[in-house]
């Protein structure tokens, strides 16, 4: 049972003010996104039309705390096909940006952030990697860059070790 008294009517405006979420209110629920979605093809858990509907209705907590918003594969199929130019992958990113700010960051994303802060890349370039590169006659790479950590720290990300 869904209790509409718990809905937050401002949620759609919050999303619309977030970069990427501007066009949420244009959605008329045609389902073109869900119909062509390769993730939906293999699991019921991700359904973009449903997520947008929930967001427009104001089901803020249900949407932000869900794991399904993180299942968009960013393939942009729906982005190309949406007749209302809702820009769904960007809309999902806007919702995820809000979710992250509100403390709903999935563990796997947290660990990606840690890797970026530590090495500036998702995969560390160690001496071993550079040795392999040398053997293959490839130019050597700088092992890590501090710049990404500086950017993240200045934006208020605190590394949890």
């Amino acid at each position: 049972m869904i209790d509409s008294n718990t809905f937050d009517p401002h949620f759609k405006f919050l999303i619309a003010s977030e970069p990427g979420g501007e066009n949420i209110k244009r959605c008329f629920s045609c389902g073109t996104c869900t119909g062509g979605c390769p993730v939906r093809e293999v699991t019921d858990r991700y359904n973009p039309r449903r997520i947008i509907r929930m967001a427009i209705l104001g089901m803020k907590k249900e949407v932000l705390s869900s794991d399904f918003i993180w299942l968009c594969s960013s393939c942009y199929t729906c982005f190309e096909r949406c007749p209302q130019n809702v820009k769904i992958p960007e809309l999902m990113n806007a919702i995820k940006n809000i979710a992250a700010r509100e403390g709903y960051l999935p563990a796997s994303m947290k660990s990606q952030l840690d890797l970026l802060a530590s090495f500036g890349r998702l995969l560390e370039v160690t001496d071993f990697e550079n040795e392999k590169r040398k053997e293959a006659n490839l130019p050597l790479l700088q092992g890590r860059t501090e710049d990404v950590r500086k950017i993240l720290e200045n934006l208020g990300f605190h590394r949890e070790s």
Partner: protein
């Protein structure tokens, strides 16, 4: 920004952007790309301290993504050369950020205030971003490639996988190619003499984007495509993105186990296929690093050549 065709292929020069996956997990892609570039007269220049393109952080903090992309673009701008990527996600992420920074003066100002204060860099919006395969397609050209083919690959039937970020969102690529009916990779394959095989769900996503969040969903997505490829009895799958490779080659065994099936489908990067056609030995193209053995495929070529 003007998308000029660049100088004549003989002196075209780009800065190569490797991203996270290629220099660690896809050396065969990098080795073969550099080999064919050299052969085709394309010069590639290096920047050793590029970071991640910013793509992974876009879903968490959009502005952090823009700053990371801008930092890389600023380093590339110092070189004064257009940037070309091997990874399609890097291409999409850097192209999108580049457009936004070039078109939005207010944003550019804010980014430069932060970048210069935090890491001592500025980006004025002066470079162009493209994909290595797009360079082969648009600047070297199919005809020129076909003319330089030394080894006949006509015995091969291979299946192109475009992936997502090479053509989509089409708005950031100025609609260079119709994402619902792309042709460039098919044509580049045909230019090598090999047959480009059509198959069901050809344009479907590899699933790599959800791998970190839900492995089973990602594997199920890649599984569908591998099934379709088996149905067409393709000799190999041809990729242009290292993350698609993580799904189709890196995880092929796991998919076989999970779904109780068997493919043993060789997965090549396009520059490896092109390299074979241009007369390079498989070893020179890093084919030993391909996890799914390519011995049968190579035999098929040499049998034909004998």
């Amino acid at each position: 920004m003007n998308h000029k065709r660049g100088d004549s292929p003989r002196n075209a020069e780009y800065t190569l952007f490797l991203g996270c996956t290629v220099p660690v997990r896809a050396l065969n892609y990098e080795i073969s790309a550099r080999k064919v570039a050299e052969k085709l007269g394309l010069r590639l220049s290096e920047v050793s301290d590029f970071s991640c393109c910013g793509y992974p952080i876009k879903s968490v903090h959009r502005y952090a993504y823009l700053l990371m992309a801008a930092r890389n673009l600023a380093l590339a701008e110092k070189k004064g050369l257009p940037l070309c990527t091997l990874c399609s996600a890097c291409c999409g992420s850097l192209t999108e950020a580049n457009h936004e920074i070039q078109e939005d003066e207010k944003l550019r100002k804010k980014i430069n205030e932060d970048l210069s204060e935090w890491v001592g860099l500025r980006y004025e919006g002066g470079i162009r971003v493209t994909h290595f395969i797009r360079v082969l397609d648009q600047e070297i050209g199919k005809r020129s490639i076909a003319e330089q083919v030394r080894t006949n690959l006509s015995s091969l039937r291979v299946a192109p996988h475009y992936g997502c970020h090479y053509t989509k969102p089409s708005t950031i690529y100025d609609r260079t190619e119709n994402p619902e009916d792309p042709k460039s990779l098919d044509e580049l394959i045909r230019a090598t003499g090999a047959e480009s095989v059509d198959y069901e769900d050809k344009l479907q996503c590899c699933g790599g984007g959800v791998l970190a969040m839900d492995e089973q969903v990602a594997l199920a997505m890649a599984h569908r495509k591998l099934d379709h490829l088996r149905a067409q009895q393709a000799d190999a799958m041809i990729l242009i993105c290292p993350f698609c490779n993580v799904m189709y080659e890196g995880n092929q065994r796991k998919i076989e186990k999970t779904f109780q099936t068997e493919y043993k489908l060789p997965v090549l990067y396009y520059p490896q296929l092109l390299g074979l056609a241009l007369g390079f030995e498989p070893d020179e193209l890093g084919m030993k690093m391909n996890r799914i053995k390519t011995t049968e495929l190579v035999k098929k070529i040499t049998r034909r050549a004998d």
